[in-house]
Subunit: 304 residues, 2 copies
Amino acid sequence: MQVVFLGTGAGLPSKSRNVTSVILDLLQENQSMWMFDCGEATQHQILHTNIKPRKVTKIFITHLHGDHIYGLPGFLSSRSFQGGSDPVTIYGPEGLEQFVRTCLTISQTHLSYSIKFVEISDGIIYEDDKFKVIAQSLDHGITSFGYRIVEKDLPGALLVEELKKQNIPPGPIYQQIKNNPTVTLPSGEVIDTSRFIGKSKQGKVVVIFGDTRFKETHYLLAENADLLIHEATFSGSQEELANEYYHSTTIQAAAIAKNAKAKKLILTHISARFQEQDYENLVKEAKSIFPNTEIAKDYTRFTV
Amino acid sequence: MQVVFLGTGAGLPSKSRNVTSVILDLLQENQSMWMFDCGEATQHQILHTNIKPRKVTKIFITHLHGDHIYGLPGFLSSRSFQGGSDPVTIYGPEGLEQFVRTCLTISQTHLSYSIKFVEISDGIIYEDDKFKVIAQSLDHGITSFGYRIVEKDLPGALLVEELKKQNIPPGPIYQQIKNNPTVTLPSGEVIDTSRFIGKSKQGKVVVIFGDTRFKETHYLLAENADLLIHEATFSGSQEELANEYYHSTTIQAAAIAKNAKAKKLILTHISARFQEQDYENLVKEAKSIFPNTEIAKDYTRFTV
Ligand SMILES: [Zn+2]
Ligand SMILES: [Zn+2]
């Protein structure tokens, strides 16, 4: 599982940071990519990566501010232009479907694939055999969600050597042993299959917050996350401003990570008022609370 | 008067050409800039120029295809963010206002200036003491307009030496002489003021076509233009494709320029299927019909 930052700026684009978009690369896990937010020119950013738009099959929008959604009509159009045919499901707050449909209709854009909208509220918004996605409302003036992406534990491998030692030869019985708690052997013997299954591998948890003001309880969404991606529009000393504009500081983001006992924190949604030389200090502020912190840049890729 | 190309590609962005937008720089003439079309990431392109969004006071949209309008909500938002306060008038086909208002409303974007929409049809759509803009429908499947921007002739200067020779001393009478065909001097003498006014300077004419299929009569909009900007989505040999997709070839664009007796032709809306090494040939095709042809690139600036 990998995370690719396509845009890490706040409010409006700058030369070094585009407005928000993050890709969760699940090619290894399920041959697809999931997009979180789609600010203007996200499709332009993608031109400088190896990401294939047709591989993006789910788009999760945290909130409807322009810097998080204005790239969506263009991304969907170009995905069609480039021959995308797999359906896309778009998750987000009420109003998202009206925005996208209006843009596509007025521009007479006909997509080569179907799109489906899921208007979300708090709780589990998606689940399959490998993943579960949970949404939680935040505090941003406008409806804004954080997403917790939970990879389910991977079952352990069949211990073939152990089976052979017990004189159980390969065959359809192996599949039965893998899928059932007990199995009756041809000899009539009933075995407890758990002895023949390796340790299960714990799934990863990635949590992506939308824009938000700090709130004590927000850490619950990020509990024990392997990776927490949190906005840090303001520096540690600007708590009042952050509060006034419904955003967070570096230190507040770090407090969420700490309380959640997350393994790693990446700061994003960095204001254009900060320059290259300020980044070190922003990270330092967060590290004083939560040591394993990094700051995102456009195009950086993290392995989870 | 200058023209700056912000995007010169067709349909979708590539690494070398963004989707369509052109700036008519009238800072010398009336302290403002006019924008023609606003594809996605036009505001990003502007970051690499000295153009100030707050100086853009009129936006003319040729047609509602996404590659010509998806940058508009973001451009307007950022213009506000950057403290723009002068009103903006937006000209274009029916549906444009609904598109912009929906995007701004759903994203809860509140602009720091007012916007006014003018739904255009063929004819004079704007006129002041210095400029006149004429729109003409083209042939693009969807409603698409070309714009003829006419600078009015600049009145000649007052010939002060001549006035002094005739013993007419400086004073309010000079303004009267400038503004009236005849004037009565304090002596009672009635004079024909034209003797005291220098030669008027002919205003420039710039014509910007929206996407269109070739049509014989289109040259009328471009008659005697100092500069004609015309799409050339296809090469000379692809006339059938051009026709099928409601676009023009290099040769068709050149034919319009020739029949219009334009002074210069710039080809734009170049498909991503053409690479750097193809451009010379595209220009050569057009030059075989209309010698004074150039091909636009992103960021190139032409003086008219
Ligand atoms: Zn926001
Ligand atoms: Zn078009």
